[in-house]
Symmetry: C2
Subunit: 408 residues, 2 copies
């Protein structure tokens, strides 16, 4: 391979830049000439918004900063390739740019939509006898890509959620029973509840944990929820509940839509999916008379590189490296997957897998990992998730705040 | 002094426990027999909810954990002592408990309301020839206590705000101009804008900073705000704005109340002061058609001990130590104050000051530190605040999350 290019797509994470770093590192090991970065994913690529990653990552200091930089260093996009039929010119343009820059392999880090891009491009290349290779690198805090044991990005978001919930739980327990507060914390995840499940990791010897966890995998029963709160309020002096933004009632309605019939839609005419914690806090206050508070982790949970998981950062880097190694061995139309060994000690290996079995498939939390009666995660989930949040890669602080690497 | 007691009151912070640790440390140095802790402040004290701090802090390991534990280890309260006239029995009860436990000095860490308690009790003691001493220890993320240069708790909250905003700014800049998002971040501070001002600390060589800062010290002009956003949207591909929860329009209305005439009040019949960012995000979306996002730091900003300022932790500890030293020298009815030297290098000394000039007085951000035209903080503020967020005291991680010290 002469030159290669890498890009990022979809929602940013705290560790996606480590995958870009890994791609660069392995490429240099293999003597690849130029490692290009597409700015704003395939969308920027189509406008030839392309940079030379060597300009940034050659220095060891910058490489270390890159691993500590949240969000997409290269910029991201939410551009989904159109279907081939009737849109040949988009595909022709992509391949003409690849040829112009003498790019032999194209790497794309992202979630479901990004893997769809890899599928479309590798299929096109095969059908049109193009020699360029296309490899996917898994990255999503949602952890919902199939085949791979877990996704880079998840461990760090889970570590942020567990760490912040421990602090929220302590804060909420400041006052005595007469000032009991029901604190409802909303966590990302529209369909899969992996992130919300991570709330279970807050519980340990020095923390009582959250009192209940509500995942989108289960139908949300408002009456049962209120009964649960009233029951907890009888004995506890602090209640903290974790809910997924995606929880729905039996009629398929998002919780944040309850009582919103008259609520204004946003400027584009659609109701925004947010405020589920705030909706529930309002209902609880009205139905129980208890003091309530709603907290949304919002983009903090996907951007908090200052408390990222070292395991996650290392795996993100290795996933990038594996993608280049696989392309160097002629692989295309595949995504890097993480395989966990059966041994008691947590070890993983990296493999690649046919993108057709991955793109557009969502992996939900296993049904038998959820205790739907107690609204808690079972020990099988804790055993799965605990290793993913281990270790810290401390930020490089300057003037009291972490330093990042940014594009000039 | 034979025995002493310490308590916490008001909103918790990431470093208030360091003051408790400091009280214990200095007391042991001085050979004081027992250091009691009141559980849930003066409210718990009245019920004799009292623990022996030695049971927790004797071990060096626990002492270190205490300095890394957010929120109020001892529990807090929002109990304001009634005025003496007609409520003599409350005061008599307090002094009878002090006598029962042979307590010679009473230390109270907190903000304005807590200092009122110290004032009332020390006044009562003087008037009734009681020998017990009463000392206040400043603690408030709001940083609004007078006389003292700054308040323990502020530096850590400011460090969290600056660190998280840097991450939010990176996240919000992920996409290109076609997906421009206006992100409005709501920061605590009902009357004084110190915490919101800390948003200015996000700006450095690797971060463009927030685009505007709106403090409660200035009247909030919605039309000007919208004009500012429209102006920024012309050139920028990401907009991040910091607003205080307490900003008010010219008619004295909180921004979160705009358009809320028909909004439901909470269970207690009062409108909750929250959602100012969310109110503004809705207005911006409707008026400009731009994509918006609202983020509230909520209790995270006062509980995030995992990214606390070492300077702040050390000063909180020293404030506790100073309070005991002062009482040991016979002082009463005073609060510990931090004095900053005039030298270029940041150094502080600890003194004490008459509580009558402190209790119930709120210190606002200096008018000439605010650039009300550019909606930014001037360099005088940055020079004031930057030293307060320096240094880190890393959490002790176990199983991937920070360990805290909790009451049995």
């Amino acid at each position: 391979m002469k030159n290669i290019i890498v890009g990022q797509s979809g929602g940013p994470t705290a560790v996606i830049n480590s995958s870009i770093a890994g791609v660069y590192k392995k490429a240099k090991e293999l003597g690849i000439e130029k490692v290009y970065g597409m700015v704003y994913g395939i969308e920027g690529f189509l406008e030839e918004n392309i940079i030379n990653l060597g300009d940034y990552l050659e220095s060891e200091e910058n490489y270390e900063l890159m691993k500590r930089t949240p969000s997409a260093f290269l910029g991201s996009c939410r551009y989904k390739l159109p279907k081939l039929e009737g849109n040949e010119e988009v595909y022709e343009k992509i391949f003409s740019i690849l040829e112009k820059y003498e790019i032999d392999a194209f790497f794309y880090a992202g979630g479901n939509d990004s893997m769809d891009t890899i599928k479309m491009l590798s299929d096109y290349a095969k059908e049109h006898n193009k020699k360029q290779l296309f490899m996917g690198i898994p990255k999503t805090i949602d952890n919902d890509l199939p085949v791979t044991d877990h996704c880079p990005g998840y461990g760090s978001a889970a570590k942020y959620i567990a760490t912040s919930l421990k602090e929220i739980i302590r804060d909420n327990a400041s006052f005595n029973k007469s000032r009991l507060t029901v604190c409802i914390v909303e966590i990302m995840g529209r369909h899969a509840g992996w992130l919300t499940a991570a709330a279970a990791l807050a519980k340990d010897d020095t923390c009582e944990g959250v009192d209940a966890i509500y995942l989108p995998e289960n139908v949300f029963d408002l009456d049962e929820f209120l009964k649960n709160i009233k029951r907890l309020a009888k004995t506890k002096s602090s209640i903290v509940i974790a809910v997924s933004e995606g929880i729905k009632t039996a009629d398929g309605k998002f919780v944040c839509e309850i009582g919103s019939e008259n609520r204004k839609v946003d400027a584009f005419g659609h109701k925004q999916l947010s405020g589920c914690a705030s909706t529930l806090a309002g209902i609880v206050a009205n139905e129980t008379g208890l003091k309530t508070r709603a907290i949304e982790f919002s983009t903090l949970q996907r951007a908090a590189s200052h408390v990222a998981s070292l395991t996650d950062i290392n795996e993100a880097e290795m996933a990038g490296m594996k993608a280049v190694e696989a392309a160097n061995n002629g692989k295309t139309g595949e995504m890097v997957v993480i395989e966990r060994s059966d041994s008691k000690k947590y070890t993983v290996s990296f493999n690649t897998y046919d993108i057709h079995n991955i793109a557009n498939v969502e992996k939900m939390v296993k049904e038998d990992w959820i205790d739907t009666k107690k609204h808690q995660m079972k020990k099988e989930y804790l055993e799965y998730a605990r290793p993913l949040i281990q270790g810290e890669l401390l930020p490089i602080f300057k003037n009291g705040v972490p330093v990042h690497l940014i594009r000039k």
